[in-house]
Amino acid sequence: MNLTAEEWTAVRLTLIVAARAVGFGLPLAVITAWVLVRHRFPGRSLLNAFVHLPLVLPPVVTGWLLLILFGIRGPIGSLLYDYLGIRLVFTTAGASLACAVMTFPVMVRSIRLSLEAADMGLEQAARTLGAGRLDRLFNITLPLASPGILVGAVVAYATCLGEFGAVITFAANIPGQTQTLPLAIYAALQVPGGEAKAAELSMVSLTLALIGLLLSEWLGKRLNVALGR
């Protein structure tokens, strides 16, 4: 494959955007999943529905909602811009945010499943041995849920690589800044004679997705072995 410098930029940018999305989204997803599994409170169903919203909404709508919330004049966006000087809309960071929001349900679901499968008996045992709440979370619950957490992260990463609707709506299609692989493919198809370029980029996209899926499978197995199961 002979990709141009511009195309390589798109590939590199895609990897960076996905990494940032997962990096920031994962801790939040772990906390959300833990709250949903271990706590009963009013509004729990609402939180659950809210978390899963990006999964069922048209991505364009998610992107548009992000624009309203995080735009320079939006309720959150204006705070970020006025006090911290952070502008999300039409930036690389914005593309990451859109990816993070879109893949959040994927991560929460995967982590939730592994937390639900965790043996409460082991936590009880840890309690009688003097381990407090956070102690149990970090030494028993999370290590035992780590296969689910890691697999969730890898699948989310792979999904980020293909995120289109929300990204183009919220972050636009700016080469070198927000133009990730799928956006580059879309842009190539808009130009007459760009099919060859689109095909090349699609091959890259396919390869990356495949690597992601194989990696998650392998990681899950390895971790379960390491955890003595």
């Binding site: 008996g121 082991l122 009880q124 045992a125 009688t128 041995l129 003097g130 035992l144 955890l227 003595g228």
Partner: protein, 363 residues
């Protein structure tokens, strides 16, 4: 020094109202059929289950009391719990498992090396729980509980999930543990073997109520309790090894105020041991028989007689100077010997039918 436990709780299927006091030294057995409340007591004592009403204290230190609103969480109770299914942490080595509770408490009198050697688990330290046998796992779980330096150790049927050979492998460890460490132990079981071998006192439970509470020899020797209704009912006597007779290959035990001859025991003179004498192995006589192979002819007085299941047998409680024997005989035997409470009888016991516990037989 006592362990006080009282609780009341309403479950959909059963109302539980249980209370007992037991010496806070030695092993207290909670004994009863499944569903009688044994595990509920253990969980309440560990702090994992909070009953509607309760008062739990060890030597005056309150662990939980609903009246005053005191409820120490499990992690602050210093009460160890050994579960039936071991519950070792699968992602840690055996050594890390053992040190888990130890690292979370101030150093105490129970030392790592001592426990590891006592339980015979030194060769397992580097391994993962998955690679251990059931018996090995249970030994590690016991060690892990001990090393958290508990003030009280609870054991919830620790041998129930093991087969007979594995049980036989662990029982001696538990007997050693009991004498080596001065730690009150509450032990749940429904096995009479474990009861008579390990227990110092016993709380007898049935359908969420305490039926009887007392020392194991006292409770095991009562003909009127559920224990006596079992086929394997038997009295327990606390004995001392008095003499080894090399010529006859017999050992003389003194206990319950009487002398018992048993097959040669591999124990030092003066060593304490227990014997269990199954009721069905004890023959009753009014006069001493002559020319008989029997070594043990023990005089006593009939104290109580109760009908066995389906009235096919009678369980006779025979008072000894300092203990009690049980004998199961037919109603016909009772009338032929004209036995009634207060009658003097002779209990005839084959030396081979006496189960010596806590001392090992050579060979």
């Amino acid at each position: 020094m006592t362990l006080t436990f009282r609780m009341r709780h309403h479950f959909p299927a059963i109302d539980m109202d249980m209370g007992f006091e037991t010496p806070s030294s030695g092993v207290t057995m909670l004994f009863g059929p499944s569903g009688c409340g044994k595990t509920t007591i253990i969980n309440a004592a560990a702090g994992l289950f909070r009953p509607d009403e309760c008062h739990i204290s060890i030597d005056g230190k309150v662990l939980g009391d609903t009246k005053t609103g005191i409820w120490l969480p499990p992690e602050r109770r210093r009460v160890g719990l050994v579960f039936q299914d071991a519950r070792l942490f699968p992602h840690m080595s055996i050594e890390t498992n053992l040190r888990f509770g130890m690292r979370r408490t101030e150093p105490g009198s129970i030392r790592f090396d001592e426990v590891v050697d006592l339980l015979g688990i030194r060769h397992l330290l580097a391994r993962r729980p998955k690679t251990l046998s059931g018996g090995e796992r249970q030994r590690v779980a016991i060690g892990r509980g001990l090393l958290a330096q508990p003030h009280l150790l609870l054991m919830d049927e620790p041998l129930a999930s093991l087969d007979a050979p594995r049980k036989a492998e662990i029982l001696p460890f538990l007997t050693r543990l009991k004498t080596a460490l001065k730690l009150p132990i509450v032990y749940v079981t429904h096995s009479p073997d474990e009861l008579s071998q390990l227990g110092d006192s016993v709380v007898l439970l049935e359908k969420g109520r305490v039926v009887a509470c007392g020392s194991v020899p006292d409770v095991a020797g009562r003909a009127d309790l559920p224990l006596g209704q079992r086929d394997d009912a038997g009295a327990v006597l606390v004995c001392r090894v008095a003499e080894h007779d090399g010529d006859s290959a017999l050992t003389r035990l003194e206990g319950g105020g009487v002398t018992l001859w048993v097959p040669n025991q591999d124990a030092e003179i003066g060593a304490a041991c227990r014997v269990r004498i199954p009721a069905r192995e004890v023959i009753l006589a009014r006069r001493s028989p002559e020319a008989i192979s029997l070594h043990n002819i023990v005089p006593g007085t009939v104290r109580r007689m109760t009908d066995g299941p389906r009235r096919q047998s009678v369980l006779v409680e025979i008072a000894l100077p300092d203990g009690v024997l049980l004998s199961r005989v037919t109603p016909d035997a009772i009338s032929r010997l004209a036995l009634e409470p207060g009658s003097a009888v002779l209990a005839l016991i084959k030396s081979t039918s006496i189960e010596v516990l806590g001392a090992t037989t050579p060979g």
